[in-house]
Amino acid sequence: MPGVELDVVDEVFRSEAGKAVATLIRLFGDIDIAEEAVQDAFVVATKRWPDEGLPPNPAGWIVTTARNRAIDELRRESGREDRHVRAFELQIQSEPDPVEGPVIDDRLRLIFTCCHPALEPSARVALTLRLLGGLQTGEIARAFLTSESAMAQRLVRAKRKIKAANIPYRVPRDADLPDRLGSVLTVVYLIYNEGYAASTGDELVRSDLCGEAIRLARLLRAMMPDEPEVIGLLALLLLTESRRAARTDGAGSLVMLSDQDRDLWDRELIDEGQTLVRASLRRNRPGPFQVQAAIAAVHSDAADAGDTDWRQIVLLYDRLLTLSPTPVVALNRAVAVAELEGPSQALALLEDLRLDRYHLYHATRAELLRRMGDIEGADLAYERAISMTGNEVERRFLEQRRVAPT
């Protein structure tokens, strides 16, 4: 039998670990047992598969091996006659083949647990990456530029709370679904955003996080195909992702949307994103992610920046502002108004926003003042923006804009 390379095992791990962990959590009702058993199963796979080759059904093999390991472990811990262990064995024997069918629901249940509003928001993100994305604690810590021990502690604390407070492992009932789904979508969006506009560090995009977020969004779409906001989120991520290659230049500096080489935009992602936007809007249950995706879709329609349908974009921002009336949305709307009606109209809109601590507020003000010829005012605003950003690429960009000729 032909053996396989170790990176094939890694690949199976990436695609199957989340599924296996979710299934084991359902069977054993315990996250730690599930995680350990799945890790163990992959250790066995790493030893065997390179010589023996892939089993006919690698995903099923992992789940079967992991659940046998977990039962062994429970036996070892509690003695052979323990009735809990026997109850597990009975329940597990009646399980259908673990590969098809209910597996998808397991992951859906698990993501609602990971994103439960009773957990701290940063812990929701970390748990989701760890349990559903199969990322190691060290990888998550690196992605969020924190120490491995701090991240491990955050995960342990969250898992302890899930267990002690009995946070359920199920898809919420219909009445709670919109709210709770909102929390799940926000977590996936945060993962993408942290990858796309890393808040700290010297690299603008951490692509592994972007890829993971898109994978999770696709998973949600497969599991909840009729939820328009799920479609909206996936569309938004794909349309944003489509511009990635154009977003930085050869030297790694940030390129503004209006200056991007649109030939570098990924047409395939744009087509997929736009199709999804249309599909979601047809359902006529608009939500913030759908409208943001629609705005991104309008941008992708324009062959060059001058072609952009700003009237349409301002209308969509009006809609977004009624759905999520936040100062950041109002700021983005003002940027669109600047294109449609001119910088002074936009600047007037900025005056009422309470965003003094947000670096992009000052960057936007600076840009508008510059366009109006107020070089001194612009300089001050750039200085404030620069002092507030922790991302090295953004800082360089703002410094360049500050001295650029008008």
């Binding site: 439960h116 009773a118 002690a164 407070a165 009995n166 946070i167 359920p168 919420p172 709670d176």
Partner: protein, 118 residues
């Protein structure tokens, strides 16, 4: 089933509400208690006298000391609590939502440890 303690936190001065408002809170809490009992989720509950009536007994030193006043040096003290049975945290949070509406104070939900297995 898990047991949860739902504690109500009163900011100081809440007793100074107008009488008709206090009467409404009493009536709402009473209705909430009835609902908890009818659902079979009630374990125990009650309102407490103000924190100034508390006495702290402490043996962390050499001997027992007795001190007047509440233990925590804060403006918010537990004003009352319920102990409920719920299937999981989601159910407990539903009850807590009804509780905070009835008593008009923030409600902290905390799980009890499992009883030691005998």
């Amino acid at each position: 089933m898990t047991q949860y303690m739902m504690s109500v936190y009163d900011a100081e001065g809440v007793q100074d509400l107008p009488e008709d408002q206090i009467a409404k809170i009493y009536a709402d809490v009473d209705a909430f208690n009835q609902e908890l009992m009818a659902a079979g989720k009630w374990v125990f509950g009650g309102g407490l006298h103000p924190a100034e009536t508390a006495t702290v007994v402490d043996m962390s030193g050499e001997e027992i000391t007795i001190t007047d006043g509440p233990y925590a040096e804060t403006k918010e003290h537990v004003g009352g609590f319920w102990i409920i049975e719920a299937a999981d945290l989601d159910e407990a949070l539903d009850w807590a939502g009804k509780a905070t509406r009835a008593c008009q104070g923030a409600v902290e939900v905390r799980p009890f440890q499992d009883e030691p297995q005998t």
